[in-house]
Every structure is written in C-alpha cells, then in structure tokens.
C-alpha cells in the first residue's frame, strides 16, 4: 500500500510546548515533509499600549515582554529613548547595565541547557544545570532584589549601584559557575549519547541561516560570525574584550556548543566589568517629555538580536514603539530545519532555537461550546466575569476592594 501523507497539528496547547504556538506538520511515515507555523497566541498589544503610556511606564511594560530576557528588552527600549533625548549615560551606569545583561545571558543559557536536556530525555542534565543556575539567580537577586524582571534600568542610567561587598559575592559565584560550565563542555564533547542524539538533527547550512535571517546562537552555530555586541556595540561592550563564539556543526549539537562557549565568554565579561567598574554617578536625570525624533536600537539578547524602534513626538508618550524579538526571525528557520527530519526530533529542534513567543494583544477570543458561536471578551468583561465566577465559589473581594479604595482616597 502506498504511504499517505498525514497532517498533524501540534498546538496551540500541547504538552510538548511551553508557550502557545501552533505547528501544522505534514508527515510521510515518520518523516516531516512540510510544516507551517501559526503564531500570535501570545500577542498582548504591547506596542499599542506603549503609545498610551509615558516613557517611564513603557520601560516597565517593555521589561515584561519576556520573562527571561527582561533586561534585554528594557535596555533595548531605553537606549533608543536616550538617543532621541541626547542623554549621555554615565560610564558606571553603562557598566552596571552590561553586567546585568551578561548575568541574564548566563541565567538564560543555563535554563536552555536544562530544557534541551529534558527534551532529549536527559533529565540529569536538567537537574544539574538548573541547580547551578540558582547561583546566578541569587546574584541577580542580591544586585536587583529580584530573580527576574530586575528593574535595574531607568532612562538615563541604572537605579541601583553595585556595592563593594557585592563584588566578591559575584566573583565567587562566577568561579563556581565557570567550573560547572567546563564540566558541561566536557559532557557535551565526551558524552557519546548526547553527541549522537544531537548531531545531524535540525540541520541548517550557513547559506540558509543567512538567507532565512536566523538570529543569535542559532545563526552562530551555522558558522555565521555576527554578534551585535561586537558589530554595533552598545553599553560597555566597546571597551571590553570577548570572543564571538561560532561553530560549524550546523545542527542542534552545534547550538549546544555555542551556548556553552558563550557562557564562558560571559564569565570573562563579568569579571572584566566588576574589576574595572568606573567610579562616578550611575544615572543622569531624564526629562519627562522626550523631544521629537526617532531612533533604532539593537541589542544582542541571549536568543538573538532584539530590535526596538522608537518615535517621539515631543510629549511624554511615544508616537510609536516597534519591538522585534529574535524568535520572530527564527520561526522561518525552524520550519526549514524540521523539513525532511523525523517527527521525534521536533521537540528538540524547536527547543534548540530557544523560542520565546512574546508579542501583543488584550482581547480574548472564545467559542461557545453549546452553539459554536464565536465571541470576543474585552479586558473589562473578562474582569467582571472572573469576579462573578469567584463570587459563586464564595470568594468575594468587594469589601477588601472598598477598604483599599478608602485607604487610597484618605491618603
């Protein structure tokens, strides 16, 4: 009997996925012959929301585009605002920003290593790398007070200084993490199971990586030597020395080696920053209203390049904010990598771009199960619905809300 094509939908809700997105795979036997992607399930209307808020409010909003590279997005955004306003961020501010950026990369790459281990059934790697990741999370908490969404940035600099007693704590943690990463590199290069499982999976040639516009470690693991930190330097990168890590394996194995190599470079950068932290102020005062103008800001986030465009109209709110996260650049790339691969490789191939489907929207689309009628719930309606739902369960916040309101008004 001739083989027939089978169409398989994965998502938007599926145990394999950590975030909502939808993949329609066409299969012939175990092989994937075609794939289409549907995104947008996470669209939260952030670009529109930015136009209705002040620059300072936007900074907090943009920091919440992503739960992992939060500092990346807030830095990328305020770099554009600072350029339009003509603000010169003091050197110490730039160094601290860059320090948090590299700590964030360490936390993100170690997180990825665990996820990758999990996707190939190597959960020991997940347990080890996430245990070690706690060290960098602790450092971020010591510096900023938070494990994620650090809130370190402000327009014109950073909000918190690095105190002298924090420096040995950072260096000790980095020493330990470096030792651990050396061990993971040893595992990556010597452990046959890991190497065999990842080699040849999710192939992406150098030509295809460039043609399709791949970003970040996904691109560098296909031998493309590009890194915004070196090519279009921002923060303190222009004064620091580091290597751009590339690899010629062009597969998931190569992507693993690139991220491990980048971890080692991040430790190098962190040491340089804390040892040569310039003295002086950490921020300059920023005006509430930003003069008319436009700027484009680029930032090498852990997953690839963030690109933020900001247009100012002279008021305290931006005219337009455009955000591009690296996953959007890598989506076409995933479709290409999965083609002619095996269905069983799908989880690790998707995970290997380290996807992060963060976009925009506040409307919730619902389908009435009784009559199939499509409906749409806007934010206030959804809120009312939830209040009613909880009231039926005997949970009522009306009295508490009234008290809070009274307290606020009396202040």
């Amino acid at each position: 009997m001739p083989e027939r094509d089978v169409k398989l939908t994965i998502g938007p809700q599926h145990p394999m996925l950590k975030e909502p997105e939808s993949f329609l795979l066409t299969l012939r036997g175990e092989k994937i012959t075609d794939m289409t992607v549907r995104l947008g399930y996470n669209h939260r209307g952030i670009e529109k929301a930015c136009e209705q808020r002040t620059y300072i409010q936007d900074m907090y909003l943009v920091e919440r585009v992503c739960g992992i590279c939060s500092h990346s997005h807030s830095t990328c955004f305020i770099q554009a605002v600072e350029e339009i306003a003509g603000l010169q961020v003091p050197k110490r501010g730039l160094y601290i920003r860059t320090l948090v950026a590299e700590l964030e990369r360490v936390h993100s790459h170690l997180l990825w290593l665990g996820v990758a281990g999990h996707e190939i059934g190597f959960d020991t790697l997940l347990m080890y790398s996430w245990r070690d990741r706690e060290l960098v999370m602790d450092i971020l908490a010591i510096i900023s007070g938070n494990r994620v969404n650090y809130g370190m940035n402000t327009i014109g600099g950073v909000k918190r200084d690095i105190t002298p007693d924090q420096i040995p704590q950072i260096l000790t943690a980095i020493d330990t993490l470096e030792e651990r990463t050396k061990y993971y590199i040893q595992v990556g290069t010597e452990e046959i199971t890991l190497r065999e499982r990842l080699s040849g999976v999710g192939k992406l040639s150098k030509e295809d990586a460039m043609r399709l516009g791949a970003a970040g470690p996904t691109m560098r693991a296909s031998g493309v030597n590009r890194d915004t930190r070196r090519d279009d330097p921002y923060g303190a990168y222009g004064e620091l020395t580091f290597d751009v890590i590339t690899d010629d394996h062009c597969d998931v194995y190569g992507r693993t080696l690139v991220r491990l190599g980048e971890l080692m470079q991040s430790y190098k950068l962190i040491r340089q920053i804390v040892r040569s932290l310039p003295a002086g102020p950490i921020a300059v005062k920023a005006p509430r209203k930003i003069p008319a103008g436009q700027a484009i800001s680029r930032y090498e986030a852990p997953r690839g390049e963030d690109v933020h465009y900001v247009k100012a109209n002279g008021s305290d709110k931006p005219e337009r904010v455009k955000l591009r996260a690296p996953t959007l650049a890598n989506v076409q790339v995933v479709a290409h990598m999965l083609k002619d691969g095996y269905l069983a490789d799908t989880p690790i191939v998707i995970a290997a771009i380290d996807p992060c489907f963060s976009c925009t929207d506040r409307a919730i689309a619902t389908t009435n199960l009784d009559d199939g009628r499509k409906d749409r719930m806007v934010w206030p309606a959804l809120r009312t619905y939830s209040i009613e739902w909880y009231s039926k369960q005997g949970i009522n916040f009306t009295e508490l809300n009234r008290k809070l309101r009274t307290m606020r008004e009396s202040n």
Binding site: L39, G40, R226, D232, Y309, A329, Q332, V378, W379, A381
Partner: protein, 160 residues
C-alpha cells in the same frame, strides 16, 4: 568618523538623484533615508546588492495621518544600519513584498497587514499574523484612531 556613513549617503544621493536633505547620518552606524515609494524597489535592491546591507532587522509600520509609513531597517555585517522610509496614501496603502529576497520579512509584512491595514503585493498566501482568525475586518489596532474598546462594539465575523 562617519566616513563610511557619509560615503553611503553620497552614493544614494548621486545614484538616485535624491534630495540630499532627505538622507541623514544620525550618528555612527545610523543612516536614515526618506525615499519616494515609487523608487523603493530600486533603492532597496541597490542597497542590498551593491552596498552590502544584507541583514533585514525588521520593518516598522507607522500611522502618519493621511499616509501610512514603512521603515525597512537593513544592516551591514559591520554594524551600519540603513533605515529606508517610504509613505503610501492611507486610502491606497499598497507596498511591494521583500519576502522573496528576505523570507523572514513574511512575518514583518503580515504585521503591517494585520495591525495597520497595509496591502502587501506579492506576499505569498499563508496564516495571518499576529491577530486571531476571527478578528473583524477593517479593524487595525495600530492605527491612531483605533482604541482598544472599539473591538467590544464590533460584530465578530469568522475568518473576516
């Protein structure tokens, strides 16, 4: 300082006879060019093929009142970014796709279609992005006159 940037600016001015004040060097590695929509294709091709702007970072869509704008942020591997801005009338907001050359532009151009109501000629058929399939026709969230409560007052039609 700015030698390479000025050279690129000069090349664009001379080759396409563009008014010099429409192309500005903002700072190191940042060039902005305001070009007529009719010239877009040739300027874009020249910038990519001859001037080496081989990276498409993204496309920004703008509501400029009577016109809709698009800025193509393209970059050289060495870090210089050229930002090509075009405007098209709002009642006939037609632009041509660049997705044949840059497949990643597919997502950026679909954003222009969904969020601003642009029409992109030559964009291959595919899933819409980023709005849901049942999103009402004619509702473009990034237009300035669109407010987030507009959606509650609109009748929803499937696959609009």
């Amino acid at each position: 300082m700015l030698v390479e940037e000025e050279k690129i600016r000069q090349q664009l001015v001379e080759r396409f006879g563009l008014p010099a004040e429409k192309i500005t060097v903002q700072r190191e590695r940042r060039i902005w060019a305001d070009i007529p929509a009719a010239n877009f294709g040739e300027v874009f091709d020249y910038a990519v093929d001859k001037l080496g702007f081989v990276i498409l970072a993204t496309i920004t869509g703008l509501d400029e009142g009577p016109t809709l704008g698009a800025i193509y942020h393209i970059a050289r591997e060495s870090g210089i970014m050229l930002n090509l801005h075009i405007s098209v009338p709002k009642d006939k907001p037609v632009i041509k796709t660049v997705s044949a050359r840059f497949p990643a532009a597919d997502a950026y151009e679909r954003e222009l279609v969904d969020l601003l109501g642009m029409q992109v000629e030559g964009l291959p058929p595919g899933n819409r992005y980023p709005l849901p399939d049942g999103w009402p026709a004619g509702q473009y969230p990034l237009r300035k006159d669109w407010k987030s409560d507009t959606i509650g007052k609109t009748e929803v039609t499937e696959n609009a």
